[in-house]
Amino acid sequence: MRDVAIIGVGMTKWGEIWEKSLRQMFVETAYEAIADAGIEKLDGMYVGSMSPGLFVGQEHIGALLADYLGQKNIPAGRVESACASGGLAVKCAFMDIACGNSNIILAGGVEKMTDVSGDGATYALATAADQEYEVFHGATFPGLYAMMARRHMHEFGTTRRQLSSVAVKNHENGSKNPLAQYPFKVTHEGVENSVMVADPLTILDCSPITDGAAAVILADLETAKKLAKNNPLVKIIGIGHATDSIALHDRPSLSGLEATKVAGERAYKMSGKTPGDVNVAEFHDCFTIAEIMVLEELGFCEKGKGGEFTEACNTHIGGKIPVNTSGGLKSKGHPVGATGVAQVIEITKQLRGDGGERQVEGAKIGLTQNMGGTGASSIVHIMEVV
């Protein structure tokens, strides 16, 4: 296997981008990554997108986007793993290069979510759960995570305040990210008193509906070294990918995320690193409870202590393990297919020392965790600056 490095990143402002279409958003972002890498031609492209068919009525976006990106004839395709589609695109790009098939691959992600009504978006997102045995009965994504939150609270005594702590911290970070959809701060009371979406989760426990795209360019280390100008090289040194039962009721426990635990173990093993080695992390905080559970499953704190760990500011910038310096899905936004790629961009920036106001001092090793459905897909990347 060849070593793989990130040589370019691109991301534009996320939010309700009324004036731009899916292809416009993607092409602008992808072109930024191409320019950042200082290249012209790609060997191939993987695009993560959860449901362009339901959101904008467009499938077959691999060919569409390659064409509009001026990369006609390259091998390009869409990969899908619900909200982990972006992470999967990065993994596919990595594998393509590592095995020697290609040298320069673009891994992108895109979702255009505001071309449907709110209940239409809820419907589209719910297709990532078991359609016949969960969604049929009225389950929604916030609802499924709410049921996990209730179990976590029941089994470990996790408090309402601890859930809010995740949102408060991520919005604090996001307020320093000019690309974030909601770059404002929130208070614990603000989270707790906001509109209920699925008890116990309020709207400020939930990531928003977002239009957005993100792209990274990956290359084999040799090519990367040739292209690297002044940019420090960031290598992907560990990948872990795992799945679990898609329906919550099929899992023995609801207070954990087994696929994330397994994916983490695989990524740690491949990279030879441990949680203690990681300086900065981006987690899939689609809901506040998710960040708490991921902290536990990836070994950053004891099982059941994620809430306490967060409330004690261990995951703040300057804490033991800064989590979601970008603002996370909560504040930065969650255009589902783009999220996994944006996480890799944030860690790349942190490891390059380009974190700006939210830079984690001396960050050498970073981790991303991207999750699909209620955690039935989980992809962990570990990255290191060379």
């Binding site: 078991d130 389950a139 929604t140 209920m196 116990p200 609801l254």
Partner: protein, 130 residues
């Protein structure tokens, strides 16, 4: 909703038909064709018990399009008396009663109506049993 999609699920939704793996004693609902560890198994039809308790629940305030008129409604995971878990709505309850561990029974109810013109979808919902 296209009728074939709900029709093929009737044995499960109407009669709680599951499959029991005779080799391991595991119960699969809905039925599986390969065991959870990827093996062919000797299966037999098994009807789930219709009683259990609330394992976890939530109140859905923001529904998907097909449940627009139903919200707020409660979705839960029931742990049946044989240990099998399934997801469904809870209906006919008092707000104060709702809690993890409460005993419920599965009843036959309308689950989706597909507006005023589509095919009606029936299935199980949990009701208080205490």
């Amino acid at each position: 909703m296209f009728p074939a999609r709900i029709w093929r699920e009737f044995p499960q939704r109407y009669r709680l038909e599951a499959v029991k793996n005779k080799d391991t004693g595991e119960v699969y609902f809905p039925p599986r064709y390969v065991s959870k560890d990827g093996k062919k198994f000797n299966g037999e039809k098994y009807i789930l018990p219709d009683e259990g308790k609330i394992f976890t629940y939530t109140v859905i305030e923001v529904p998907p399009s097909q449940f627009k008129d139903e919200a707020p409604y409660v979705v839960c995971i029931v742990e049946l008396t044989d240990g099998t878990k399934l997801t469904c709505q809870i209906t006919d309850f008092d707000k104060d009663w709702l809690d993890i561990g409460k005993k419920v029974r599965l009843e036959f109810r309308r689950v989706q109506t597909d507006a005023h013109h589509g095919v009606l979808s029936y299935g199980y919902k949990a009701v208080p049993a205490e």
